[in-house]
């Protein structure tokens, strides 16, 4: 074979293969598309914040005034309740037993009044007889005094028996109040959002990390927007705001400001993690929106954009 031709042919082939490799191996990397298109602000200059949906009444964590075992639960999640409607009953056997004792006490006290009344009549009659005698020699002065004093004692005893009735009545009312307190009632008209207690479980009194029951008025929802304290100066109350549902930016709602909480609070990360991290402090603004605009649930997060003055001229506030 002619070396004269072999080498140049090999060289050309080599170069072509190199060129092919260069073209082939340097293709741009494909770009992973977003699973859901992200929402973006419809304003030129704006503040962005994370919002969490809550009822207008806020979430009411229902507590119990007395600790005890839950006897019956009359509501379930999603029930609409009127103010004053019972939510759950605590075990009341001992209180009812106490009530019976108190009732008996009252009956006894009332009976005692009857006795005292009768003995008063007795002493009064005897005293009247003695007083009626005009001839002082017919009765000793000692006897007369004895009868007079017996009357006074009987009157006092009747008053004491009457007071005991009052005492028994008060004790009865106390037990009845306790009985009433074992029925936990809805403080407002609203919807049961969460039930964390079941019959047979012990309901602790006091502030709990997991509320026994969560109640809220769902007629009007609010979205609570966290605005970073560094951005708080840009926030204006009358500016436009819009909220996007996470996961689908086609669901959005115009917001109207309900109120701003004037107290700046530490931001809690909304991960639901038990060890919540405090990052920074945030100004919380509450906005209301038309409920039928969004298929939204209480507790859901939203991306909120609030229009703000263009701060690019003064360069914002570098840290």
């Amino acid at each position: 074979m002619q070396i004269k031709y072999t080498l140049p042919i090999l060289a050309v082939a080599g170069f072509l293969f190199a060129a092919y490799t260069v073209v082939n191996s340097n293709k741009p990397i494909p770009v992973a598309a977003a699973v859901a298109p992200p929402s973006s602000a419809p304003f030129k200059s704006f503040i962005a914040g994370a919002g969490i949906v809550e009822p207008k009444s806020r979430n009411i964590s229902i507590g119990t005034p007395l600790p005890g075992i839950v006897k019956t639960l009359v509501v379930k999640v999603g029930d609409k309740v009127k103010a004053g409607a019972p939510l759950f009953y605590l075990d009341d056997r001992d209180t009812r037993a106490e009530l019976a004792v108190k009732l008996a006490d009252l009956a006894k006290a009332k009976a005692d009044v009857g006795i005292e009344k009768a003995s008063l009549v007795d002493t009064k009659t005897l005293s009247n007889l003695a007083e009626a005698i005009t001839d002082r020699r017919a009765i000793s002065s000692e006897e007369l005094l004895k009868r007079r004093n017996a009357l006074l004692i009987s009157t006092a005893k009747l008053d004491s028996a009457k007071a005991l009735v009052q005492q028994a009545e008060a004790a009865l009312a106390d037990t009845q109040t306790t009985l009433a307190r074992l029925v936990i009632e809805a403080p407002i008209d609203g919807e049961v959002l969460q039930v964390n207690i079941r019959p047979g479980e012990f309901a602790q009194a006091g502030a709990l990390t997991t509320p026994l029951l969560v109640l809220g008025n769902m007629d009007q929802l609010h979205v609570r927007v966290d605005i970073d304290e560094n951005d708080a100066w840009r926030f204006a109350k009358n500016s436009m705001a819009v909220a996007f549902l996470r996961g689908n930016r086609n669901f959005k709602a115009d917001l109207t400001l309900a109120y701003v909480e004037p107290f700046v609070v530490p931001k809690k990360s909304l991960t639901g993690d038990s060890t919540e991290r405090v990052d920074t402090r945030v100004l919380q603004a509450l906005y209301s929106f038309e409920r039928n605009q969004l298929p939204v649930y209480v507790g859901q997060q939203m991306d909120v954009f609030i229009e703000a003055k263009d701060s690019s001229d003064n360069g914002g506030a570098p840290l």
Partner: protein
């Protein structure tokens, strides 16, 4: 005896060539004849140049491959235009986390279409057999999953929404995170969709296998959602590694990065800038560029020495023929052209063979762990190198030929 034959040869040629001595075509033919007359020398020159060209493309290709791995994670995340991070970050793996609220501050800057959080960190994965493997865990925005792996081999990116779901890269799944073989010393069993891992004492279920560009440290890459990554990560006050920003259409990126920097005090780089930041860090803080530079230089020197020396020898051998041509009145210009032609010929062949061999090397290694990146700039680079060697070799030969006395033909 030898001289006699040569004399006869040249006399014979003299007769043959006198007819068209000024025709360049013939002169080129003679030049090629001279070059290829001695096959050994011809092969020697070509091999020297092939070797030089091979070293000058293959070594820089490995170098570029290694360097591109330093920023491969950034180029894999193709969607965002701008990366926002702590001002003191030096390169991609130098993570200085931010507060979560910085995300919303960046989102609130005009010109930003969207901004998404990203967690990137090294976490320990506990494997089935109890060994630990450090993994690169990437947390993507829960809703949009922006920043995901470029190619999904199994499963979908949206599967990350399943509880405890993670996506691992194919290299990690087959190699470092693989289950031990039932036969001692056998190959590991690759992880499949549905297998579980333990990340920092948390359960993680594989819902997908992805293909990612290898990174510098070649650690397994695990993708999950941002909130899940935060629960996997050790408890720290700050966990947000990067904010990925997409500019509004028509927004000037340089202007936007300036605005982000001014408004938040954080560092904002375009994708290109962040890549070059990472690249520069490796260039200035590792010995890699020097090592490869020395290899390339050695290739150049050895190639130049072999090719130049052999080429010069071959010219020396053909010095009589050049003398004859000179005696017959061939101008120096034509002789120069003849030598240049020879140089260009061997140069082209050597270069073609060299880059071809590099390409074959790269092609055969394409599925291996080797870093290899062959770009058109490298073709130009080695072309320039080979040209320099050829110019050097031709130059010393040309000087010899130009200084040649035609009378040498008749000397003993």
């Amino acid at each position: 005896m030898n001289t006699l034959v040569r004399c006869q040869f040249s006399l014979h040629d003299k007769l043959k060539l006198s007819l068209a001595i000024r025709e360049l075509k013939t002169m080129n033919h003679i030049a090629i004849k001279m070059l290829m007359g001695d096959k050994g020398k011809y092969l020697g020159i070509v091999m020297g140049l092939t070797f030089a060209s091979l070293i000058m493309t293959q070594q820089p290709a490995i170098f570029l491959g290694l360097m591109s791995r330093s920023y491969s994670f950034i180029s894999d995340v193709g969607l965002p235009d701008i990366w926002v991070m702590d001002a003191k970050v030096q390169f991609i793996d130098d993570i200085k986390p931010l507060q979560d609220t910085e995300l919303y501050r960046v989102r609130g800057i005009s010109g930003v279409k969207w901004a998404m959080p990203m967690y990137k960190g090294l976490l320990k994965a506990r494997l089935v057999d109890g060994t630990f493997q450090t993994c690169n865990v990437v947390g993507l925005d829960d809703a949009t999953l922006i920043g995901g792996p470029p190619v999904m081999l199994e499963g979908k990116l949206a599967d990350l929404r399943r509880s405890d779901g993670i996506i691992v890269d194919i290299d990690g799944a087959t190699d470092k995170l693989g289950k031990p073989s039932p036969i001692p010393g056998g190959k590991t069993i690759p992880l499949k969709v549905g297998d579980s891992l333990e990340l920092n004492d948390h359960r993680a279920i594989i819902v997908g296998i992805a293909k990612v560009t290898r990174t510098f440290q070649s650690q397994p890459v695990i993708y999950t959602t941002y909130s899940r990554a935060k629960s996997y990560a050790p408890k720290e006050r700050k966990l947000l590694s990067f904010v990925l920003v997409k500019a509004k259409p028509g927004q000037d990126l340089t202007e936007l990065t300036r605005r982000i920097r001014a408004a938040t005090g954080l560092a904002a780089y375009t994708q290109k800038e962040f890549m070059s930041l990472t690249y520069e860090y490796f260039m200035h803080n590792t010995g890699i560029p020097i090592n490869f530079g020395i290899s390339v230089l050695l290739g150049f020197i050895v190639g130049a020495a072999i090719a130049g020396q052999t080429f010069y020898n071959s010219t020396l051998e053909n010095l009589r023929q050049f003398g004859v041509l000179k005696a017959m009145g061939t101008s120096n210009w034509i002789l120069l052209r003849m030598i240049l032609l020879q140089a260009v010929l061997v140069g082209t062949i050597g270069y073609g063979l060299g880059v071809g061999l590099t390409a074959i090397f790269g092609y055969s290694m394409r599925h291996s762990i080797l870093a290899f990146k062959f770009t058109w700039e490298l073709l130009l680079f080695s072309g320039t190198g080979v040209s320099l060697i050829c110019i050097f070799a031709a130059l010393i030969s040309i000087i010899k030929v130009i200084r040649l006395e035609p009378a040498i033909v008749f000397k003993g």
